[in-house]
């Protein structure tokens, strides 16, 4: 489903080239649930962004669903994303001026003529809303929803067009553990029941444990690729590092919150 060849990303940071990703190869078959793990700054989010065609690589190609996305222009990419990809973000990224239901039907509306009619779109959104357990919250604006509710809306939106691939960037990063479990359950369900290829970036061991395959990235290189359960891998991350890492992420939580505050005050 996803083939990555010789992919690298180098940024010119203050005149000096800064390598975010060293040339790497990765192949993800259809229907697989892959967790991409690694400390922050390891390049895992960059990899996800490149896969989604949100960023241009320095070298290499990405084939997604049989198409080479690295050769597409902005608008071809946008259409391709609408057809093939669903996104779930750490900071939810709902549009603040739209209700929960409208946020969900948005991808269908953008697809326009080629997809369902408006009434169908709204029916499908209603159905998805039900599926994520928020039937009563359809008319609420993001600011009126809790973090967990917002992320459930985001999951529903990601799957509105039934894309074959779902990309999730730290989907539980801003949620408490109960809500995090809830969202993960939804994603697992989509993977199980709809056969979606799910690529999930996380630093949470527990979240990664659900995946069929865990790819570990460090300093822009793939340093591990294994199936969980088979705990004795070639390079297990040290417990100490992981702990430090999660502490760091805790302190960093203020940032997205502030962003949310700004967004809710138009």
């Amino acid at each position: 489903m996803i083939q990555i060849k010789w992919l690298s990303k180098v940024l010119a940071s203050g005149g000096q080239p800064l390598t975010i990703l060293h040339p790497l190869e990765l192949s993800i078959p259809r229907g697989q649930f892959v967790a991409v793990m690694g400390p922050s700054g390891s390049g895992k989010s960059t990899l996800l962004g490149l896969m989604a065609g949100l960023d241009t690589p320095t070298t290499g190609e990405i084939h997604l669903d049989g198409q080479e996305i690295t050769r597409m222009n902005e608008d071809q990419l946008a259409r391709f994303r609408g057809r093939t990809l669903g996104f779930v973000f750490q900071t939810f990224q709902l549009i603040p001026s739209l209700t929960a239901l409208e946020n969900i039907s948005l991808p269908l509306e953008i697809r326009g003529g080629r997809g369902a009619s408006f009434r169908e779109a709204s029916a499908r959104a209603q159905q998805l809303l039900e599926r994520v357990g928020l039937t009563a919250r359809g008319g609420h604006y993001p600011a009126q929803l809790s973090g967990g509710e917002q992320q459930r809306v985001a999951v529903a939106r990601a799957f509105a067009c039934r894309p074959p691939v779902l990309l999730a960037d730290e989907p539980t990063g801003n949620l408490d553990s109960a809500n995090g479990k809830n969202v993960m359950e939804l994603l697992r369900q989509l993977h199980r029941e709809e056969g979606v290829t799910l690529v999930l970036v996380t630093h949470d061991q527990e979240v990664a444990a659900d995946a069929q395959r865990v790819v570990t990235i460090k300093d822009g290189r793939i340093v591990g690729d294994h199936t969980p359960g088979n705990t004795k891998t070639d390079k297990p991350p040290k417990a100490k590092t992981a702990k430090n890492q999660s502490a760091k992420d805790q302190t960093a939580k203020g940032k997205p919150n502030r962003a949310k505050g700004g967004g809710a005050a138009p």
Partner: protein, 839 residues
């Protein structure tokens, strides 16, 4: 447009309609002024077309300033033989007198049949010819009031005595002159003969009013008539070509007003543009999300373009309604200067034009920020810090967008509204220059202010800092408010300076009493009467009337001169010629010699500097003047600079002695009589002794000019008010844009222990500074502009009077503080905890 765009449009309106409605007020104020003027102009045009025949009282007119010569008369007779009706109307200025006083009046004589179209309105409501005969006249009420007369009393005009048969309210073709010297009186032709006032050389305007038989085409008839005339002394015009001075003047004024209105509209557009930019900056995340979900840049473009169009249309609709509501006010401000009574109905054309203009301007000015914003990279959803482009590239792109879209539109609008490439160009350049100057001045002051040192008081420090808050549209508010102040103040100052110019500021010895039409044989009587009043008789100046016939032997044809309006105007009027070989009234010899040059054969003439500039002639060239049918060709032997400020009687063409002495001539002169009572006594004595001599009191003329200028100034200031309104809306808009930022500041100040009054003080200082900068910059620019207008365009003397400038400055500052504090009341009232919790 797809359903998606519609849906997004409706949703965005739902979430931010208040802001959009408010923003659209800026567009509304801009469009309102334009629609008001345009509706007025269209109503006037429509009325003029509808009443074209009445405004001429005929189908066709042949006008001349000399009695019709035999060939002209023959051409008229021929028309009559072919079924046309002709009435001759003569107009001249004279003195009406009774035992109690005298008054300068405009006399008109007509025959039964007049008017062919329209009707003469009388005080009694009865038809003109029921009361008008050889021995009666009808007169304006102002004459009756001035002389203390009633209908039925007697008036003397020249040698004739007439009974006032009725009050004259209006004649259909009366309003062809903007500038009148006195009340109007209508006599019969026989009555006119009885006055004995029409003599060779007296200034009389003859008009043959012609009613054509129904089958005759006016244009063909006019051509045929023209072809039978001996020279171009008489002008022939058909009713649909009638372009009296008033129409041309009002037409030009309307165009100027359109341009003033355009300033407001453009400011509104710029205001909306900057507000849209601020709005889109907050929407960058939404755009990135839309793109992540599969939306293309084109879809993004359409979403925000649709919103802007909706905003522009809403504003333009409000503006059109406002303009239609105010169109009557424009007419009211110009009352007395209009040739017809205007009937106002909603003008759909003006409204539609306003709607199109407003929407187009809003879109054009918003397109640059929208085109920029649609480039927002979808990767923003991952990383906040990704910028679409490097700042220099972004700046370059922004410049390209502005130059490519907004400026061409503005140039096009300037051209369209002004109706000429030259005017449009001047306006476009002037507007850009004014904006650049204001922007530069504003930036300079804003740069300087913090460098003057830290204000010692907390309130002032905080207020000053507020000016530099990001998102505050300080430069834009300064420009729009400054432009408003500039317009209002410049008009006020220029008007004041011109008033002083024609009144108070005249030289101490400038004459205030002018006498015209003194016949050659009346010279001694004139001098005796003046001496009898204990005054020194002034020198009498010979005056011969003539028209320019050829320039350098080439016949002047008005129809060929449409490309050179200045030349056309210069050769089309009748000249007052004189003869002498000395410089007078502070004239200055620029080149050549004043005096007969024996080396040059034939007549010689000295001309004014302005005259050679417009005719493109020089020393040695020849000019042929037509004096009552006889051509006289003279060589230009000197060029003089005239001194208009002397207020003496100036002659542009002065013949050297020996050539004009035998031409039909009258005498004219001017003198100064300080005391009003003595002035009146002299006029009265002269009109008793020499009834045909007309005396003109400068004070009455100045009063008339002041009245006209007052009305023009009022209507220009009315339009400038729209600019100020736009500035206020932009100010209020920028208030709401930075509302949350200020809210946080205010709450912080309160939490840190500042009392509410102190916080209000901080805000007041901020707006005081803002209004002060805008008002100061605008007032300074008004000073420069008015100086340029008064000294360069009107050739007058500019004077510095601090009061209007200070008043405008204080007014701008006060208005800004008022708006700012009112706009902040709700913020001041917030409890700190409420806001901090929202964080």
């Amino acid at each position: 447009m797809s359903r998606f765009v519609w849906a997004m449009l409706l949703r965005e309106i739902r979430s931010s309609w208040k802001r959009m409605a408010f923003l659209s007020l800026a567009v509304a104020a801009g469009v309102g002024g334009l629609v008001a003027v345009r509706a007025f102009g269209l109503a006037l045009d429509g009325q003029m077309v509808a009443e074209a025949r009445s405004l001429m009282a005929a189908d066709m007119v042949m006008a001349s300033t000399r009695p019709f010569v035999p060939r002209e008369q023959a051409a008229l007779d021929d028309l009559q033989r072919r079924g046309a009706q002709v009435v001759i109307s003569r107009e001249f200025v004279s003195m009406a007198r009774t035992a109690k006083g005298t008054k300068l009046v405009e006399v008109r004589t007509v025959d039964p049949g007049y008017p062919f179209y329209g009707r003469v309105e009388t005080g009694s409501g009865r038809p003109l010819w029921e009361s008008l005969n050889q021995n009666t006249l009808v007169a304006n009420r102002s004459l009756l009031l001035h002389l203390g007369l009633r209908v039925g009393d007697e008036i003397r005009l020249g040698n004739g005595r007439f009974r006032v048969a009725d009050e004259l309210i209006r004649e259909p073709d009366g309003a062809v002159q903007l500038f009148s010297l006195g009340p109007k009186v209508i006599l019969t032709t026989g009555g006119g003969e009885a006055t004995g006032l029409i003599q060779p050389g007296s200034m009389v305007r003859y008009r043959a009013l012609i009613k054509l038989p129904p089958k005759m085409d006016p244009l063909l008839a006019a051509d045929r008539l023209k072809s039978r005339l001996p020279d171009r002394y008489a002008e022939v015009r058909t009713f649909d070509q009638a372009q009296p001075q008033v129409n041309r003047f009002i037409g030009q004024l309307t165009r100027y007003l359109n341009l003033v209105g355009l300033v407001a509209l453009v400011l509104g557009g710029v205001g909306v543009s900057s507000a849209i930019r601020a709005f889109l900056t907050r929407k960058l995340d939404t755009i990135a999300i839309i793109k992540c979900l599969g939306g293309s840049s084109r879809q993004v473009l359409w979403v925000y373009l649709a919103q802007t169009a909706a905003l522009g249309m809403a504003g333009s609709l409000m503006g059109a309604a406002l303009g239609l509501g105010l169109q009557g006010l424009v007419a009211r401000l110009l009352e007395g200067l209009l040739p017809v009574d205007l009937v106002f109905q909603p003008s759909w054309r003006a409204a539609l034009e306003g709607l199109a203009l407003g929407t187009l301007t809003t879109l054009a000015f918003s397109l640059p920020p929208i085109l920029e914003a649609r480039q927002a990279p979808p990767a923003r959803v991952f990383r906040r810090d990704v910028e679409p482009m490097s700042p220099p590239r972004q700046r370059r792109r922004r410049a390209v967008l502005w130059i490519g879209i907004a400026l061409p539109l503005l140039a096009g609008l300037s051209y369209w509204e002004s109706g000429s490439a030259k005017m449009g160009g001047i306006f476009f350049g002037g507007l850009l220059g004014a904006v650049a100057a204001l922007l530069l001045a504003a930036k300079g002051v804003l740069w300087l202010l913090p460098r003057l040192g830290r204000p010692p008081f907390f309130v002032w420090r905080q207020g000053l800092a507020g000016l530099y808050r990001p998102g505050n549209q300080t430069p834009l508010v300064v420009i729009s408010l400054g432009l408003g102040v500039l317009l209002v103040l410049a008009v006020y100052v220029v008007r004041g300076d011109l008033f002083r110019q024609i009144g108070v500021n005249a030289p101490q010895n400038a004459p205030n009493l002018f006498f015209v039409d003194i016949q050659p044989r009346q010279q001694t009587t004139f001098n005796r009467v003046v001496a009898g009043q204990g005054l020194t008789p002034p020198r009498l100046l010979p005056l011969v009337r003539g028209r320019i016939q050829d320039l350098n032997g080439k016949p002047v044809r008005l129809d060929d001169l449409d490309g050179d309006e200045e030349l056309r105007r210069t050769v089309s009027f009748e000249y007052a010629l004189t003869y002498r070989d000395t410089l007078e009234n502070g004239e200055e010899l620029l080149s050549g010699t004043m005096g007969v040059n024996p080396a040059i054969p034939g007549p010689q003439v000295s001309v004014a500097d302005w005259w050679v500039e417009r005719t493109h002639l020089g020393l040695g060239d020849t000019v042929t003047v037509n004096i009552q049918g006889l051509p006289l060709t003279a060589t230009i032997t000197s060029i003089r600079k005239l001194n208009w400020r002397s207020r003496q009687i100036n002659f542009s063409l002065v013949f050297m002695p020996g050539f004009l002495e035998n031409a039909p001539q009258v005498f004219t002169t001017a003198m100064r009589v300080e005391d009003t009572a003595r002035r009146v006594a002299l006029q009265q004595a002269l009109s008793q002794a020499l009834p045909n001599v007309t005396s003109i009191d400068a004070e009455g003329v100045i009063h008339t000019i002041q009245n006209i200028m007052d009305r023009i100034a009022a209507v220009v200031q009315f339009m400038a008010a729209f600019t100020i309104a736009v500035g206020m809306v932009i100010l209020a808009g920028s208030l709401s844009t930075t509302k949350y930022q200020r809210l946080r500041e205010v709450v912080l100040l309160k939490t840190l222990g500042a009392a509410r009054l102190r916080v209000a003080g901080v805000l007041a200082v901020e707006y005081l500074l803002l209004g002060g900068v805008a008002g100061g910059v605008g007032a300074a620019a008004a000073g420069v502009l008015s100086w340029g207008l008064v000294t360069r365009v009107f050739q007058g003397e500019w004077q510095w009077h601090p009061l209007p400038y200070l008043a405008a400055w204080a007014g701008a500052a006060g208005l800004t503080v008022l708006m700012g504090v009112i706009g902040s009341l709700d913020i001041l009232a917030k409890k700190p905890l409420e806001v901090l919790r929202e964080e």
